[in-house]
């Protein structure tokens, strides 16, 4: 009987929606009783449902989550029936480098200051692109760092540390 | 002889360190988003303290979780006098019982320095409610159990708990309608969709004066200078009713006494200065009678006790 996936995009989109929908339902209402009894403890607590009259915090998310799962199922079934586009290839390189560069910035800012964090972001994100010329990236990061310090720290007075923690007397404050 | 000198020096060291304080900028954590009354008073005080202490006092906004995040941050900071926090009735007296697990202890983890502001709340009703004073309101509420709605700025806010206290003391049942902030609640009240609310006097005053809502009583023991003709709930028959919204400055628990004393003196001086006094007055605050750190600490302990009881009886919960 093999069911052929006629629309790859819709198939996985449907699955994604079902997953999200169920996620919200389960975390709103909590794990069902039989599962708790099996495991001995209550895995997920969930919130109060209340009634339609006096809705508790779980009511709206459960309804929406359920609706989302149903829509996901419709999209899924549709993907087996209707022709649709295939999923374009995933390119992991830009995704990973851009993500890492933002995280690097965020987690380096406090300990090492704006200068180091910005340079890290620029270099890592540039590395995720097509061309990477050291000198060019270095110049760009220098310009950006100077500009950012002027605009954000001096101009807008954002409380970002400019120098790393271990340097005690930062010339720029 | 050398030993004696060394001992004397060792004994004097903490005092010496305190004399040197402040040697660098002080961080004043504001556990709320910028722009609210607590944030504004923090900025006013910081500006004044900078002049008298000779070091920058930098407000640092850390909003979240009803103020708990900011207070917890300071409670766990080094007690060297360089980290302070704006602590309020919510974070010190109400949240401990509202939240099931608070990461800090308001009595033991913090040293309370000065009470900055004490603002009365006022009981206001919608214009189309047939109650012109507190007695009529109580009678109305008793005759229509569960039919009246009272609004508040959020679950567990002073407005909410004032309402709960009122219900408890009068034996009435009214439905609590929470809002995101007291302004939308005020809007619904002006439109007559909710019947009453307890709001902070400064915010409610313009609408009271313009006749858009009717004020019945204040929640403090003594009458407010802003509305001297308005009776207090205590006078109106709810004996002992005394609720204010308040906030002040606190430091980590083990902050040295000399630092606390100096801070307290300087903050009080700032609050007594004419321009700051006027600005705080504009926010609805009459200068608090509680001045010293010890008085403040005793006040906090008393408030904590009152509100723990009240929150439990009202069944309000944050998580």
């Amino acid at each position: 009987m093999g069911m052929k996936i006629k629309s790859q995009q819709d198939f996985w989109a449907g699955l994604m929606f079902i997953a999200f929908g169920l996620f919200f339902v389960v975390f709103s209402v909590g794990t069902p009783e039989f599962l708790d009894n099996l495991l001995g403890t209550r895995l997920i607590h969930g919130y109060q449902m209340g009634s339609a009259v006096r809705m508790g915090p779980a009511y709206f998310p459960v309804m929406l989550g359920g609706l989302l799962a149903v829509l996901g199922a419709i999209v899924l079934v549709d993907s087996l029936v209707e022709e649709g586009p295939a999923i374009a290839a995933f390119h992991f390189r830009p995704l990973i480098f851009i993500a890492i560069s933002s995280l690097a910035f965020a987690y380096l800012l406090k300990p090492l200051g704006l200068v180091v964090a910005s340079v890290a972001l620029v270099f890592i994100s540039a590395y995720g692109g097509h061309e990477f010329k050291w000198k060019e990236v270095a110049i760009v990061s220098a310009v950006l760092v100077v500009g950012s310090v002027l605009v954000f720290v001096k101009g807008l007075l954002l409380p970002f540390p400019v120098c790393p923690d271990f340097i005690n007397n930062c010339p720029i404050r | 002889m050398r030993l004696l000198v060394l001992l004397a020096l060792a004994a004097a060291a903490p005092f010496a360190a305190a004399q040197a304080w402040p040697a660098r900028p002080i961080r004043l954590v504001v556990p709320y988003a910028p722009g609210g009354p607590l944030d504004i008073s923090a900025r006013l005080i910081s500006a004044k303290l900078q002049e008298s202490l000779g070091q920058a006092v930098v407000p640092d906004n850390r909003p979240g979780a009803g103020g708990n995040i900011g207070v917890d941050l300071v409670a766990k900071s080094p007690p060297d006098g360089y980290t302070l926090v704006i602590s309020a009735i919510a974070t010190l007296a109400i949240n401990p019982s509202l939240y099931s697990a608070l990461p800090y202890d308001p009595i033991h983890d913090l040293r309370h320095v000065t009470l900055l502001v004490q603002v009365p709340n006022v009981l206001i009703v919608s214009n189309d409610l047939p109650a012109k004073n507190v007695q009529e309101l109580i009678a109305l509420a008793r005759s229509r159990p569960g039919k009246l709605d009272f609004g508040s700025g959020s679950t567990g806010s002073t407005g909410h708990l004032a309402g709960e206290m009122f219900k408890m003391m009068t034996g009435t049942f009214m439905v609590h309608i929470p809002y995101k902030g007291s302004a939308p609640a005020m809007a619904d009240m002006m439109a007559g969709r909710i019947n009453l609310m307890f709001d902070n006097l400064a915010s409610a005053l313009p609408n009271i004066k313009a006749g858009k809502v009717r004020a019945l009583a204040t929640t403090t023991r003594t009458r407010s200078s802003f509305l001297p003709d308005l009776p207090t709930l205590d006078e109106a028959g709810l004996k002992g009713f005394d609720m204010t919204t308040w906030w002040g400055v606190s430091a980590p628990a083990k902050t040295p006494q000399p630092v606390v004393d100096r801070l307290s003196t300087e903050i009080l001086k700032a609050m007594d200065s004419p321009d700051l006094k006027e600005r705080l007055h504009n926010m609805g605050s009459d200068a608090p009678a509680i001045r010293t750190p010890d008085q403040f600490a005793a006040f906090v302990a008393a408030e904590l006790k009152t509100y723990t009881e009240l929150v439990k009886r009202s069944g309000a919960k944050a998580d």
Binding site: D10, A13, Y47, A52, V53, M55, G56, F60, P61, L64, L68, L71, G72, I74, V75, I87, A88, F90, P94, I98, A99, S102, A106, L109, S118, V122, G129, E136, V140, S148, L156, F160 | A33, P34, G35, G36, P37, I40, L44, A47, G64, A65, G66, D149, Y179, K180, G181, P184, D188, M190, A191, R193, I194, A202, S203, P206, N207, R279, N282, K317
Partner: protein, 519 residues
């Protein structure tokens, strides 16, 4: 009507007043101080509007202490200038780099960015500026003439009316998508659910936070917008096999063509009307106006097939709507003392520090303040259009920078902006997560705009639904009861709109079914 001219006269005199100013030890006489504050305000506002992630709220909060030493009118003029200056600036980032500066710029991204990619950034930016200027002028007139009665209308909107309006709004959000209808609805619902993360207003319970204290106040709009629009777009651009320049090198003219002007007149008018009307509603009014205007244009325009690919109406209408909404959102503040959004709440703070209690009597007790502010809105809008039009040339030049240099810069500004929300790394982490989500959704043919609109409206919708039910003591018919004609009207419109939207799809499916039968 005489009163109006008299009042406006008071206002303009106040704005243009010459005052002695003491600065740095010198006293200068005859300085038009209020005008200067207006200029500073709109300039700052444009700057922070252009910078992704940094918004008027943070800036105004930081400037509050500065306002202590200014006169009330000067302080408020400057702060107001920052606010609607940020609207102008936000459109610029939306068009140039597909990042919505403000929530009401989300819709501008859809067509504005496409226009920019086609080398039509100049006309797009000019349309936004001109449309905003027109809308600003008209809506300021509306504020001047109709502030008190409009405020009364705003008061008529209770939770039931808000809920129904938001349902209508969400249905229009679905129209924004140009792909599958069902997937658009699903994205809206996903957005709604994500918006529920955080503290529930009605019960105080913390939902879906999994012990992460940073989530106690929910996920911020800026975080989601930067992630799903900004990061996602950069990654998508980097994915191209060869490095094609994202913006075509043949950058065209700066100004719109005659044809463009002809096409934008009606959308600007409609957008202005819608924005002026919806802006008075506290909480989401301006946002609803901008994408309501977009939806309206898409449905009635004869170029509706171009929407999503660079239709000029898709920029003109929402931009006019959101600027009109920005001006009229001052009405609840100035007449009732009720803030429409976070920025207005800050203004209340600024006023209270100055000893002005915001409320109904401001208009009567301090006419110079009230009318001075209104006059300053005109002046501010004029300054903004004068400021922004020449800037278009600079922005266009900026777009010719090779993308490999451009995108790290954009990314840096985004990261700084997001980090500055609460000075914690967590927000950047969330931004990266939403970037990933956006990337996956794009691969699966799901669009981010409906999600983000659901995200903003979701919590508001739930709050109003539950409050309406609380007030009606559980009567679900309260939304369509005859005693609430406004609510009923919105819900009927929502259903009608849903039918109109679904009709083409249904008809197409029917035709397919018939065609399949015939063969």
């Amino acid at each position: 009507m005489d009163g109006i001219w008299h009042n406006l006269g008071i206002g303009f005199i106040e704005v243009f007043k010459l005052q002695p100013v003491t600065m740095w030890g010198m006293t200068l006489q005859h300085v038009p101080f209020n005008i200067i504050m207006c200029l500073i305000g709109v300039f700052l506002g444009t700057l922070i509007g252009v910078l992704p992630g940094i918004g008027p709220v943070a800036t105004i909060a930081m400037l509050l202490p500065v306002t202590f030493s200014l006169s009330p009118i000067a302080a408020l003029i400057m702060l107001a200038g920052i606010y609607y200056g940020a609207q102008y600036g936000g459109s610029t980032t939306a068009i140039l780099v597909n990042i919505p500066g403000e929530s009401s710029s989300v819709v501008t991204c859809l067509d504005g960015y496409q226009m920019a990619r086609q080398g039509r950034a100049g006309p797009a930016l000019a349309t936004a500026a001109l449309g905003s200027f027109f809308a600003g002028c008209v809506s300021t007139l509306v504020v001047a003439m109709f502030a008190p009665p409009l405020a009364e209308v705003a008061l008529k909107f209770g939770p039931a009316e808000y809920f129904s309006l938001m349902v209508l709004g969400l249905v229009s959000a679905v129209v924004l998508a140009h792909g599958s209808l069902i997937k658009a609805i699903a994205m809206v619902i996903l957005g709604l659910l994500l918006g529920l993360v955080g503290t529930d207003v009605n019960s105080g319970v913390l939902r879906f936070a999994f012990g992460i204290s940073e989530l106690a106040d929910g996920i911020g709009f800026v975080t989601v917008a930067m992630g799903m629009f900004g990061i996602c777009e950069i990654i998508a651009n980097l994915e191209q096999k060869e490095q094609r320049e994202v913006f075509t090198k043949s950058v065209g003219r700066l100004m719109p063509t005659k044809e463009d002007f002809r096409r934008m007149i009606a959308p600007v008018l409609r957008g202005t009307a819608l924005g002026s009307a919806l802006g008075i509603l506290p909480g989401g009014g301006a946002l609803l106006a901008s994408f309501g205007a977009y939806t309206l244009e898409k449905k009635i325009s004869k170029y509706s097939h171009e929407f999503g690919k660079g239709a000029i109406e898709g920029v003109a209408a929402p931009e006019s709507a959101n600027n009109a909404g920005a001006q009229t959102s001052f009405i609840p503040l100035l007449t009732l003392g009720i803030p429409s959004n976070a920025v207005m709440a800050l203004m209340i703070g600024a006023m209270m520090i100055q000893g002005i209690a915001p409320g109904p009597q401001v208009m009567t007790e301090r006419p110079q303040l009230f009318w001075g502010m209104i006059a300053s809105m005109w002046v501010g809008n004029l300054m903004l259009v004068i400021l922004n039009l020449p800037l278009i040339g600079i922005w266009i030049k900026l777009l010719t920078v090779p993308y490999r240099i451009l995108y790290p810069s954009i990314l840096l500004f985004m990261a700084i902006g997001v980090f500055s929300i609460s000075n914690q790394p967590f927000d950047c982490f969330l931004m990266a997560c939403f970037g990933l989500l956006g990337y996956v959704c794009a691969k699966l043919g799901c669009e981010p705009a409906p999600l983000i609109l659901g995200f903003i409206l979701g919590p508001l919708m739930e709050e109003n639904l539950r409050r309406a039910m609380l007030l009606s003591r559980g009567d679900p018919w309260v939304f369509i009861s005859p005693s609430k004609p406004i609510s009923m009207g919105f819900l009927i419109a929502a259903i009608a709109l849903l039918v109109i939207i679904a009709l083409p799809t249904l008809r197409a499916k029917r035709e397919e079914a018939f065609a399949a039968e015939d063969t």
